[in-house]
Symmetry: C2
Subunit: 350 residues, 2 copies
């Protein structure tokens, strides 16, 4: 394998000049450039990627801003693991990754954590934008400082984000509806359960609901779709009565759709008779949700490749920083359909 040094000798120029030609840095006379290019071509030369990687070290640091996970909502653990794994992989490029988490219930936490990250002057940001309004302010700062940023998991429009990595939530909801109907008769009612906060704030949840209802419209299925709002601060007893009385009052309900990762909480609240008769469909293969799949209370989970979301986002950003690869504007990861039998092969990300 030729080296830059050898190419330089061959062309009677210095290594620096070859370097300039190779990286299109400019400042090389036309004549010498041509000469160097000819020799590069002649030997089909390309730089030693090992040496290159070593020399490029310690240049960039990526800041990651995502929600925290806790016992009742483990979802974000998995993207976090993906991020950590990617961080490990790109250490060889000297890229550092700093991840901080915020409280998904508190917009202030989102803002504060962002500013905390900003202190270390990151070369780029990866953000899960749970709060649409607050994101506007955050992004204004980044745009001003010309710091590139990418959205993770939650898709919002109208920003200069480098890319989005996540799921097509609309279609995911659409698929949920299709799966729901594959198991039930046509003349039924269906119930969507979700907190008000999520419906208005969380764009992914909103789109899933849109997709779900759209399936009925598009296929002209005359089923009634009801909505029940359960707030996250409600006590368990309150939730229980709310849900069970609602189901009791609507005996035609044949299936329940939960457009978030918290379906296990509802399973926890529902009376056994409902668990046996109703079709339940929810999102994300968190350990608790998997348990619901295994004990037959939930029929399907739709998973959004949480691990890969984190992993890909970080690698994408690194490729952008290090190699100047511009990613596609939207990267939709597969919509996984999980059932009792295949869920174990998707478990390892928690």
């Amino acid at each position: 394998m030729k080296t830059i040094k050898e190419i330089a000798q061959e062309a009677n120029v210095s290594e620096g000049t070859v370097d300039r030609v190779l990286h299109n840095r400019g400042g090389v006379s036309k004549k010498t450039e041509e000469k160097v290019r000819a020799i590069i071509k002649e030997y089909n030369f390309s730089v030693n990627p090992v040496a290159s990687a070593l020399a490029l070290k310690n240049k960039f640091n990526i800041a990651v801003l995502i929600p925290a996970h806790n016992k009742s909502d483990l979802f974000w653990k998995s993207p976090n693991l993906g991020i950590t794994k990617a961080a490990e992989d790109i250490k060889t490029f000297g890229t550092q990754v700093q991840t901080l988490t915020y409280n998904q219930q508190k917009p202030e936490s989102y803002i504060n954590t962002f500013h905390e990250l900003l202190k270390s002057n990151p070369s780029a940001f990866i953000i899960a934008p749970s709060f649409s309004e607050e994101t506007r302010n955050i992004v204004a700062i980044l745009d001003d400082k010309k710091i590139p940023y990418l959205f993770l998991n939650i898709e919002i429009e109208g920003f200069n984000n480098l890319s989005f990595v996540g799921q097509d939530s609309f279609t995911a909801g659409y698929i949920a509806a299709k799966l729901m109907l594959s198991k039930t008769t046509e003349s039924s009612e269906f119930l969507i359960i979700q907190s008000r906060k999520n419906i208005t704030n969380n764009n992914a949840v909103f789109k899933r609901i849109e997709g779900f209802t759209n399936y009925f419209v598009k296929n002209e299925i005359p089923c009634k779709i009801l909505t029940l709002e359960i707030e996250s601060q409600d006590s368990k007893t309150l939730r229980k009565t709310k849900i069970n009385t609602y189901l009791n009052n609507h005996p035609d309900i044949k299936g329940v759709f939960v457009p978030s990762s918290r379906i296990h909480m509802l399973v926890d609240c529902m009376a056994d008779t409902y668990l046996k008769t109703l079709e339940l469909i929810g999102f994300d293969n968190t350990p608790q949700n998997i348990e619901c799949l295994k004990n037959n209370s939930v029929s399907f989970l739709i998973s959004q490749k949480p691990f890969n979301q984190g992993y890909n986002a970080v690698k994408l950003m690194n490729d952008y920083l290090v190699k100047n690869n511009i990613p596609s504007h939207k990267i939709y990861l597969p919509i996984d359909i999980l059932i009792k039998e295949n869920v174990i092969y998707n478990e390892n990300s928690y």
Copy 2:
């Protein structure tokens, strides 16, 4: 990331001593060795593989032996893409990847291509062992030369392979049966179509069939399962008559299971009436198969993450060569359930 230099400072020794400890070169007093080891452990230190590769002028090369793809069977294109992508990623470690493909119909081709690869003295092999018997001979050579190897996509037992990367074919078949029944009534007959060659030679196909039939046994579903053998060398007209007469003679058949990636060929042969009434389930999201999903002739495809199979296999082997990471003996990738609606997000690997 810590460096040897930093570890040395911390331990009040020279870099040389740390190097000696790291590589068990000996010539270090017990006391200092312990001190150094303690600090290495404390920081969970490991050498920068890139710098290491540069200093060593590492020249690992991984040989990859997989089936070729052609217009009628595109399956292997996708693992190949994954392999190429991984090859790009691991260039930074100085590892080269050489991929050669063989004719899946001809065992000689398998053997010959193997020997072709062997010529360049590879540090390791990645093999898709389509032919069980021939693999025995191949592996004997590798064992003799102490060249590590791992199996890709097709799982066979009784070898010293470093690892296996692929799918749990039995469960995949099991899931196919479950999906089949979600769409049909209980008192039906089902048909498995496959070539004799594949059933006896290709272990993945064999296991899928096992899993499929096992579902009926385990759940005590009294359906009759029939098998029709179609040889790949049969002409299209012959296939057409074979299939359609068979279906005609067995009017109770409600679903057809094709345990290979060639379901599109059967769709091509089946009369329209059958396409409309029968449930078809096959494997792999090749472009032709996706087309069948989109035009509603096929209900489900089961996908085995072909791209990731290739990608992971190569990266795993590289980690083994470069960092001495020993992988798990079996790495089962997710069993993807594909339907019309989510298939587009799995399309990009072809």
